[in-house]
Symmetry: C2
Subunit: 271 residues, 2 copies
Amino acid sequence: MPEAYPHGLKTLTPGNTIVEALNILGPGFRLVPLDGSSPYVRPKAAMYDFNGKERRWDVVESHSSVGVILYHRELDAWVIVRQFRPAVYATLLREAEAAGKPKPPFSAAFTYELCAGLIDKSKSNAEICQEEILEECGFRVPLEGIREVAVGIASAGTQGSPHIMYYAEASGGWRLAVDSSMAVAGAGGGLVGHGECIEVLALPFHHCQPFVLDGSLPKSPGLMFGLTWAYFNKLNGSLGGRPAAAKEEAEAANGNPLLTEELTLRPVLPA
Amino acid sequence: MPEAYPHGLKTLTPGNTIVEALNILGPGFRLVPLDGSSPYVRPKAAMYDFNGKERRWDVVESHSSVGVILYHRELDAWVIVRQFRPAVYATLLREAEAAGKPKPPFSAAFTYELCAGLIDKSKSNAEICQEEILEECGFRVPLEGIREVAVGIASAGTQGSPHIMYYAEASGGWRLAVDSSMAVAGAGGGLVGHGECIEVLALPFHHCQPFVLDGSLPKSPGLMFGLTWAYFNKLNGSLGGRPAAAKEEAEAANGNPLLTEELTLRPVLPA
C-alpha cells in the first residue's frame, strides 16, 4: 500500500501502521441513533435573546484539548499521527450515498493530526502534552521544552471548545543508548485493546507545505496551521536551529539517511 | 469598547459591529435538552468492528463548508468576520461554572473566522464562495479569482466534515465609482432579523501573525491556517503582488490611510 505514504512520510510505528489497522478493521460499519447517554457528544439547544426575540442555536458539548507541533531534530522531520476516525468515515459514507456512489474505502478516513489529547485531567496543559507525546509518539521531551503557540476554537458553530496548540522538539538521535527522545517499539499508537490504532509518522521538513496543501489527504486544521506556522518560522530562523547546512545539502541530494534506512526503535516505556 | 479592535483591526461594517451586537444580545442564555429534531446537530453512534470486537464511537453529523482567505489589495489587509457563537459561549459558561467563577461576558464569545458558508446548495464551491463574499463581506469578486488552497477536516473526532479553503482578492479601491469590489454599507453582517450579526473586519497585512498568535482572541483554526499560509506566501512573493514598496514604506511610517480614515461605503446589493 505505497500510496499510504505520500510526501516522504515514514512510519515510526512498525507493527502499528495503517496497513495493520486496515487488516483488523471492519467489515461492518453502521450508524445507530444515540441513546442520549454519551459522555462524548452531548447535544443541547442554546436559547438566548437577540434583538428582543428568543433565538435557538443547537450546540454539542465537547472537551477542550491540546495539540503539539512536534519537530524531531535528527530526523529533521515533523512528527504527526494518523488514525481511523469513525466520524470522518460516517461523513464520507453519507456523501457517497447521497451521490449514488459505492462505499468509500476505510483508508480514506485515516486522518493526519497533531499529537493531541483531551484536557480532562488535573494536570497542567504542558504536562498533558508531555504525557501525550510519550504515550502517542513514544518520545520523552522535557516539560520546559513545551511552549504554548496559539489557541484555536474547534467548530465554533457547534462545539466551541478551545484547542490549545504547543510547540516542542524531540532530540537525541535514534541510536544513542541513553537519551531523552527514544521512540518506543510498537508504541505510540495507543492501545489496540481499547480500539485505538495510532500510527506515528515522520514528515520530512521540506515536504511540509506540499503535504499540507494536498487536499486528497484528510487532515485537521490544527495540523495545517501548526505545521505551516512552524515551517515558515523555522525557515526564518525564529524557531531555533535546524540541522547543519552540510547535512541539509547531503539530505537534499540523498535524502535523510535516518528517514530512508530502517529505524531501530528501543522501548523506554514500562511494559 | 476600544479593546474590541486589537492588532489594528478596523470594522468594515459600521452599524453592524460588536458594540451593536452586544446591545441587542441577552440577558438570558440557557441550555436546554435537544429534542432530537435538530437539522444542524444530528448525534449518532457509529458501530464498527476493530480487532474482532464491536466498537462504538459517538459522532455528530454536520455539513461540509467552504472558507475564503480574503485579501484586499488597496487596504493591504485581510478581510475576516466576527460573530457571536452560542456554542463558544456555552463552553465558556460551563468552564466558568466548573471553576466557580462568574459568568463570562458575551463579548468573549465573538469569534474571528474566515468568511465561510455551508455547502448546501446546488452550486459549485467557487460559486458558494463568491456568494458568501458578497453576502457576508459585501465584495464582488470574479469567479475565476477564487482558487482552492487546501482542505481541513473539522473536528475529526466528532464531526469529520470537510472544510474546503479558498483564496481570493478584492480590489478596485473604496472610492471608485464603478468597480468590482465595493463594500455594502451596513451589509456584510448577515440578517439581523434572522438572528445574525456578522461584523466584517480589516486586519492590516503585517498584523497577521501577532493577531493569529494572540491566544486571548477566540478564532477558528481555519482562519489561523489560512492567514498564516497566505501571509508567508505573500511575503515570499508566491501569492501575487502586494501594494508597491513606496506605499508600503509610507504605511509603515503612517499607517495605511484607507485603514485609518473613515471609510465611505456604497451599497451595491439590491435592497
